[in-house]
Symmetry: C2
Subunit: 883 residues, 2 copies
């Protein structure tokens, strides 16, 4: 039995989206609903996939099936394809499962030839319309199907207009257009070496192939990667009878939304143009009219449209984005789909639809893309202010939001300026952990080097600070206090710039920003999400301030406090360095004793800020060389400061150097070598918990041991922690519960999770490192080749942004299974950056984790994603089908 | 039901080695055989384990059981412990499952007190004997059990000898010794603050505890790590009635082997000393007599001994190492065990025992430790020559064998000197890939830095060249052409030194070496191993020379040819560098075209050398920066050579720098970025195969794609290879089979092996990288903390030397299962350094691999290990129990 590759609209319905694409399924559904739709057929997404399997060829079988359906369509229309007497014209449009607006190709007016156009003239008595349609078709077909550049046609039109002394295309007469067609075809032959195809069947098959091909054009590939659309889906192709909005004043075309896509307001929103084809509305040469005008001009058509509009919204239970054409006084609906909308509109519409009784809360939860929420949480530019701002450079959109301030080139200067009340943008070649204070002081961060997962990007996202990273367009002279752009513009310390962290744009001037407004709809909507979800959401937070932000965004605890971030503080760094250069345990303990009270105060602050929610504190993780300077100059300065000889300090720095720092002396390996560090941290954590509990709280601290690969290693470090903790508790004469657990971030820990779980009371999947180790490439280095991987379609998404469910996910599932076998009540969470990625959150829900932990600004996203995962689970569908 | 922790010798037998330890089980077995053994009991290894579980305490239950058995023993002996009238003395000796000679502690003459010693005087009428025994006991017990340093006692003896004007201990009279005892006890009290224990029961329990404690002394831990003995085994303790060889001229003691442990000759080999205790034989103050002298002096005792000796050898079907004591004319056997022997002796004995019909070939296979074979394969020092050689420094025994030559400090100088016919030792701070030629030219390699898995060590082992690495005792001034030792000796270019790569010793003079002799026994024995084993053994070899060596050692193919080693050759490096600095694909192809004929010739050479055995060739693997210089000086020189500006080349070098080269742009990632490199290599391989096949061979090349983590990645690179290969084959108008497979060296590849196997025709487990990625630490960096891991007993062996069967092994098993699911006839091998480690080979056999591949010099080891694995499989035992 052979597969069916072509469906008449009357053979499909909305449920067949995967096969027919969104557009095709909806055209079929409208047909079913009895709404006037120009009839047609859909070549399925499977035909597209087969096209690629067959080495970019449409097989004879599929071609034959298309021709059969075409004949059926002719019968329905009562017209003949290629006939001069009763010509039948069609449009050919792409239509993937997920809407990819503007990414793929379309051909209109297909079926016109030298002969047919004359038939059209006769039949319509409208030669200008007929010739205009034909020249449009030649232009579109040549561009889309035959790779003849558009500008060649535009040039010919310009010449013609000049000859005729007219300004607009619409001023050209039928005869002008007829002559233009001749010139078009002549040029076509010169470029291609053969005549413009005069067989409508060949035009059709070639056009369908062109649409299939366009599935793999660079902009479509890019769009898919940005939107997590697998390339294996393919696109469907819709072949539809043409209706003409350009047949005179009783014809027209338009686009409308059932609700306002900007604000969500429940009021028809759209515009139309009489005597026009769809492209004219978009082209902006004539100004379209609002739909309210149609109500006045042609109430009958308007009312008919409103009937369909309401019917479709009720039917799809969502705001619809519709295209329509009026041909000689008759209304046709050309497309409907769930309309794209702003984040604010998405929330309002979801909440309103529930209030109107049209959908349930669960439906509402599924209607908002979690990623969209991000836009609501960060400052944005004042639209008016942005209008005149000039983009002077473009980098990677590393951390969303808008920022404006005076540029500073060192963390110290930035912090000092901020202390004086200035708004500051920190501009660096790249940032390092020592820059933390300056980064925290800045409104935004701009770096010349580093990718989406560079230090600047990761830290900025954690802080919710706007960041444009890897901006190769600028040259930064940190020491001389200025940067220049490609165009030779120079920005010196104190000059204003503005950053858009959501687009990567850098503006060379002050652009006012406004704070995010969390509307009542947001609160209502998120409350529903919280009601429904079972997966807890925590935040990664290292300071009381972060913790407060996280709580504001609904975090239910801290899943990861990176204690090393506290070590970089200006007042701690000297003691940290003293500890590192210590030659004996005694010296090391002396330095640690200085850090103890500071760490204790840190933890007290965190516990208080989280007011009783659980707090997971990770022991010191990074390699020690991160705390030391590396250039001879800086080493000299520090040596003087510490009263050491340059040689001595240099030797320490060199002895700590590593070939592969990612795979070096860090994590629990530090505690194995220097147990006294873990002791100090355990003491600080437990003392802090005892202190705040004395003040009436009931904190149960969770102490997390990083980078464990072997249970004996965990046991060794846990023993240090437990011995210290119990001694502190005993000395204080109190009782205190605490937990000791581990990160699962090394493949061996996942593989031996049953053994690890005998010692660990909780697992937190550190998916950043786990992804690195599982793939065998480091985030810092992968930037050099990942683009090749995207270009060659080896990877379709960044595994550091979206969890690799196949490989890393398999290890997580294995670890969950083994961990629960050994300790059924083990607490399971994730604290990599994936904790804030919707599809990864969904995975975590289904994998049986108890919580995800992400940066504070992603908490709402994770809450919504968790709710969606729960709804889809209840409904028994793994994929939301929201694409 | 409580466990039984103490067994009389008469309650055990040889099969209970795990519980009673080797010594205890054999004492029980001898008792069973009716051989005269001083009776006693064994405290089990489980008691030792329990001792550690109980926090280093012997539980009351076990103490009670010991006391009960002691009472039974007293009854058997007819003497009383602690009695002055009829004193009963015992020895307390360790005895683990595996023999660990000298690693743990022993206490003799236990049971003596101030009172008992007087009884002993009376009973034996030999006051000198009695007081000598007591002072020996005080000395031994204080040292072993009470931590009073030995030298304190030695000093007191020296003082006494000086006072008495005598030279030897044996010249001291009974009264002298009596006085010495008083001084011993006085000093003991001063040091410890309490009197020397006078309760024999306390002496006994304390001694047993001391033996348990000694299981964990540093030298025992080190020995276990070197010999793969788990610390969980624990040691047993044997408490045995003392018999005295020092009671006069009718008493004596000795040690004998049933065959010569040096040569394997089938003739009793041993020595004895009359009127002496065991320690005197070892101490070397008096010269022992050969056993043939005993035959003359006391034929009755000799004949009795021979009877037992033959009985034991027949019974254990192996060469025995026995200790005996004659007490007042009566022979006692104190110990028997399978004797340690040299590699040559091991082979001869194994082959002889089969010839004598005592054992089967399978038994013989199990009798030789595969690691021992190594000694047979490398040059050794002429024993006579070594006698006067002075050790001037000591490093790590990085690659076995002996070497002697003139020192040179650069690879170029070393190669030049060798070309002139000199024997050369290459001395470097550390080696890098550019040194390959000099390393190949050298007899031996000495480096000041780097560990057992440094570049020098790994490459030297691969070449079978002697190497001492990480020799911190020397300071190397490469540019000034000399090195100095700790003692201030200076060795300049052209001076002779000698290296022992099996011990790490560096000799400051010429020491003659002799080539390895592979005896007829070796060939016979290895033929049996080959008959029995099912696992194939291949070699890692990059040159025809390596391949020939490998074949000589019995390799059945090449499992890994690292093509990059060919790229470092002097005549290729310029083209390789040209390729790397190329700015366009065209430039890159031009450089590659120069490499093509050289690579083709390489592969032709390899195919010919392997005469039809399979050859697996890995595509270029290392990051490209390895081929470029790094210091400004060298960059300048190369820039001039290549006609580039310094800045241009420097920029290229910098752009290739990586944070974590191990996890960077290497392996198949290079082929993804630069498909033309893989194309050139595929072309060279296929053309080479076609050429040699035209000459009558039938080579089926195996092309291996490294560092794959995702099937689409493999598919992409495989497609380049297959397209190129098929084009070459078609052009040549021939038919040629070839296979394309992949390394499994990235955890994700193991986890997704089912998908990978749809494209890969074979898997080769790259366990070096797989171990690094699975543990999350790099070989180069782990050196900094692995010692802490050994010291703290977190790791018991080096996972880069011995395959981690729990973690890495789990991934291998998973990949084997998934791979076979997807492709039942998939070929499976391993090509990490583990391929030459016996326990890892055993694992590979049981995991169902088809072959292991290791460095040529380890091929015989792998062959034997594979045979042992097969025998143990047939016999249904996983562990060989050979320890």
């Amino acid at each position: 039995m052979s597969k069916k590759y072509v469906y008449l609209f009357s053979e499909g319905d909305a449920s067949m989206k995967n096969l027919l694409g969104g557009k095709g399924a909806n055209l079929a559904e409208m047909t079913l609903l009895g709404i006037p739709v120009p009839q047609g057929f859909t070549v399925t997404t499977e035909a597209c996939t087969q096209y690629y399997v067959d080495g970019k060829m449409i097989s004879a079988d599929i071609t034959k099936e298309i021709e059969t359906k075409m004949a059926e369509l002719e019968a329905i229309a009562g017209k003949q394809f290629g006939s001069a007497e009763n010509p039948f014209l069609v449009s050919v449009r792409s239509g993937a499962r997920a809407s990819m607006p503007g990414m793929m190709d379309t051909v209109l007016n297909l079926g016109l030839t030298d002969v047919v156009v004359e038939g059209l003239v006769k039949k319509t008595g409208n030669p200008r319309f007929a010739y205009d349609s034909y020249r449009r078709f030649i232009q579109m077909f040549s561009d889309v199907v035959m790779d003849v550049e558009k500008h060649r046609f535009e040039k010919l039109i310009d010449v013609m207009k000049e000859e005729k002394g007219v300004q607009f295309d619409t001023d050209l007469t039928a005869d002008d257009l007829k002559e233009l067609i001749v010139r078009y075809k002549k040029m076509f032959k010169e470029v291609k070496g053969f005549d413009f195809p005069q067989d409508p069947k060949i035009q059709l098959i070639e056009s369908i192939e062109a649409v299939f091909r366009s599935w793999d054009n660079p902009r479509a590939i890019y769009y898919r990667r940005m939107n997590d659309i697998p390339s294996s889906w393919g696109t469907a192709v819709n072949v539809q009878a043409m209706v003409f909005g350009n047949m005179g004043d009783t014809s027209g075309t338009g686009v409308a939304f059932t609700r306002n896509p900007s604000t969500g307001e429940n009021k028809l929103y759209g515009e139309y143009l009489m005597n026009a084809q769809g492209e004219d509305v978009v082209a902006g040469i004539r100004t379209p009219l609002p739909m309210s005008e149609l109500q006045i001009q042609n109430p009958a058509i308007y009312n008919e449209f409103m009937e369909y509009s309401n019917k479709l919204q009720d039917h799809y239970k969502d705001m619809q984005d519709m295209e329509f054409t009026i041909e000689d006084g008759k209304l046709y609906m050309l497309q409907t789909r769930n309309g794209k909308r702003t984040a604010a509109a998405a929330l309002k519409i979801a909440v309103d639809l529930v209030a109107e009784g049209m959908i349930t809360k669960e439906d509402a939860i599924l209607k908002v893309d979690p990623k969209q929420l991000d836009a609501l949480l960060h400052p944005t530019f004042v639209a008016k202010a942005l209008k005149d701002a000039k983009i002077v450079a473009k980098g990677l959109p590393a951390s969303p939001g808008a920022a404006c301030g005076k540029v500073y080139f060192s963390a110290v200067d930035a912090a000092a300026a901020e202390a004086k009340g200035e708004k500051v943008i920190l501009v660096r070649l790249e940032t390092s952990p020592e820059d933390i204070e300056g980064m925290a002081a800045a409104q935004g961060i701009l770096t010349a080097r580093g990718g989406m997962t560079s230090h600047a990007a990761v830290v900025a996202r954690g802080m919710g600070t706007c960041c444009v990273a890897g901006c190769g367009d600028i040259k930064v002279m940190e020491h001389d206090g200025y940067f220049t752009t490609k165009d030779g513009l120079k920005f010196s310390e104190g000059d204003y710039i503005s950053l858009d962290g959501s687009t990567g744009n850098v503006y060379g001037a002050k652009v006012d920003t406004e704070e995010a407004q969390l509307t009542g709809d947001f609160a209502q909507f998120m409350a529903w999400a919280d009601e429904i979800r079972t997966l807890k959401v925590r935040a990664n937070a290292d300071t009381p301030h972060d913790a407060e932000v996280a709580q504001k965004f609904g975090a239910e605890g801290i899943g990861l406090c990176r204690t090393e971030h506290m070590f970089f503080d200006e007042d701690r760094l000297p003691s940290v360095r003293e500890m590192i250069v210590a030659k004996t345990e005694e010296q090391r303990r002396k330095a640690l004793a200085k850090l103890l009270p500071m760490q204790r105060a840190d933890f007290e602050g965190l516990f208080k800020a989280m007011s009783g929610f659980p707090v997971t504190i990770r022991l010191l993780d990074p390699p020690l060389h991160e705390f030391l300077p590396h250039s001879d100059e800086d080493i000299k300065a520090l040596a003087t400061e510490m009263g050491l000889s340059f040689e001595e300090l240099k030797e320490t720095v060199e002895s700590l150097q590593e070939f592969n720092p990612m795979m070096g002396h860090r994590g629990c390996r530090l505690a194995v070598s220097y147990p006294e560090i873990a002791e100090m941290q355990a003491q600080a954590i437990i003392e802090a918990a005892i202190n705040v509990n004395k003040a009436g709280m009931s904190v149960v601290p969770e102490i997390m041991i990083p980078l464990v690969g072997e249970v004996v290693e965990l046991k060794y470090v846990k023993n240090i922690v437990v011995t210290t903790a119990n001694a502190v508790i005993e000395k204080a004469g109190v009782t205190l519960d605490y937990k000791v657990g581990t990160m699962i971030e090394i493949p061996r820990a996942a593989v031996t999770a049953d053994a690890i779980a005998t010692e660990a009371e909780f697992f937190s999947f550190g998916t950043n490192d786990l992804t690195q180790m599982t793939y065998g490439f480091s985030r810092d280095d992968a930037g050099k080749f990942l683009n090749d991987y995207y270009d060659k379609k080896i990877f379709e998404s960044d595994p550091f942004a979206k969890l690799d469910q196949v490989g890393v996910g398999a290890l997580i599932k294995l670890a969950v299974k083994l961990g629960k076998q050994a300790r059924p009540d083990i607490k399971l969470g994730i604290c990599g950056e994936h904790g804030g990625d919707p599809s990864s959150v969904e995975f975590c829900h289904h994998a049986g984790l108890n919580y995800v932990s992400c940066s504070p600004f992603r908490v709402p996203i994770a809450r919504l994603a968790a709710a969606q995962a729960r709804v889809s689970e209840i409904r028994g569908v793994e994929n939301l089908g929201q694409k």
